[in-house]
Symmetry: C2
Subunit: 242 residues, 2 copies
């Protein structure tokens, strides 16, 4: 096959539904690992939009080098390949169906010059249904990180994620509660915008490790809009991923 890659760990980032911050957390995880000195790549398999390239301020077209496609690189040296980078026009809504996604993801696994990586982080399509399952069936994933909000933790999202992970026999590394609270920049009050935190209760109930809570942060939004999510402060909850 050739030695386009030598990847030690593959982590997939999942969510119960769109809009909970899964793509943002994928980037924050990759950035944190890169800052810890690891060699990192991100495979953007989230068909719902070009979040990963946008968050990282990337918009080039990947080039061919022999049999392989060369991933784009961020300022921190994180290698990126995205379904969205292959589309001619970023604004065209593409209806990605399961078999096509699977085909592209397998190509991303086999035909991208990833090189030596300690971690490849996969941004999955949102949800716990067939589409993310298709991606998990297409490449060898070592563990799943689950991104939730206080709101959707109140629903069935954790048990559905466990079912998905069980089907694939992939362990769940841990649970993250995003948009968990907001700290007032003036008076420091912790405001529980979307209700009280539920992640500890859910973690206990389902026997899943709780990695931590990420606050609603206007700074994250600002940097994200500017395509500079790499500049966001490191989060300690990503320090002990293995």
């Amino acid at each position: 096959m050739g030695s386009n890659k030598n990847i030690k760990h593959v982590i997939a980032v999942a969510s119960g539904k769109g809009g909970v911050g899964k793509s943002s957390v994928t980037c924050l995880l990759a950035v944190s690992l890169a800052r810890q000195g690891f060699k990192v790549g991100i495979m953007d398999a989230d068909v719902t939009g070009p979040s990963i390239p946008k968050l990282l301020g990337l918009n080039g077209h990947p080039e061919r080098e022999g049999d392989y496609l060369v991933p784009l690189k961020t300022e921190l040296g994180i290698k990126i390949m995205s379904l969205n980078l292959l589309l001619e026009q970023a604004d065209q809504p593409v209806i990605w169906r399961g078999p096509i996604i699977s085909k592209v993801v397998i190509q991303f696994w086999e035909e991208i010059a990833w090189g030596d990586l300690d971690y490849l982080v996969i941004d999955l399509p949102p949800g716990t249904g067939d589409v993310p399952l298709t991606v998990l069936q297409s490449i060898p994933v070592e563990g799943i990180m689950m991104v939730t909000t206080p709101q959707d933790l109140a629903g069935m999202v954790v048990s559905k994620a466990i079912n998905m992970a069980k089907k694939m026999e992939i362990p769940i590394i841990g649970l993250i509660e995003n948009m968990s609270y907001l700290v007032c920049p003036d008076c420091g009050k912790r405001i529980e915008v979307f209700g009280s935190s539920k992640v500890e209760t859910m973690g206990e109930k389902y026997g899943i490790k709780v990695l931590g809570r990420i606050p609603l942060d206007p700074n994250l939004v600002k940097l994200s809009d500017q395509g500079q999510i790499e500049k966001y402060e490191s989060l300690s909850l990503f320090n002990n991923i293995n």
Copy 2:
């Protein structure tokens, strides 16, 4: 055919994508109109989840009365019919395809005993693609109200909504920016969590009336979780809808 209904105004509530608060705003609009003394109904055509019955604390099964299905009623007397109320098990993910949605929505228009209504508010499926378009093609809608957040206003969402409204030759009543800012309950600071407001600029740019901005409000989340969105304070931005 019979006189199951006498409906003066039909307003459809649209969004650029899920999670921006469209179903919540649909309820807030209906509640505001009911409090102003109007007779109101909500047709829940949002196939992505049982938000409308949940927000209003309803979970009964609609009963038949002769040829018609009787809508459920909220405490304020708002009549409700929801695709989600017809499903046996609320947690089963149903894959609603365009032709089926259209068929059900037409049935909702023709076979529900709506009675005399000043306003029927339609909770559309999220987005500006084929699925909400299907619903708009199935019943006579007088105007569209568009729900956005500061985040998605930065994208193509308004122009796509205008295209959808143009295709159907339905006017856009106005633009609402939800989750526009958060007021600290302690010190009163206005925090622009998802970036600065963009709704005035967008309204001017596209010649659409700006109805107003709704803050991120933990009280709204709390009442919503309890199925008591009817108890939320009235918002003045719904006072001059016609």
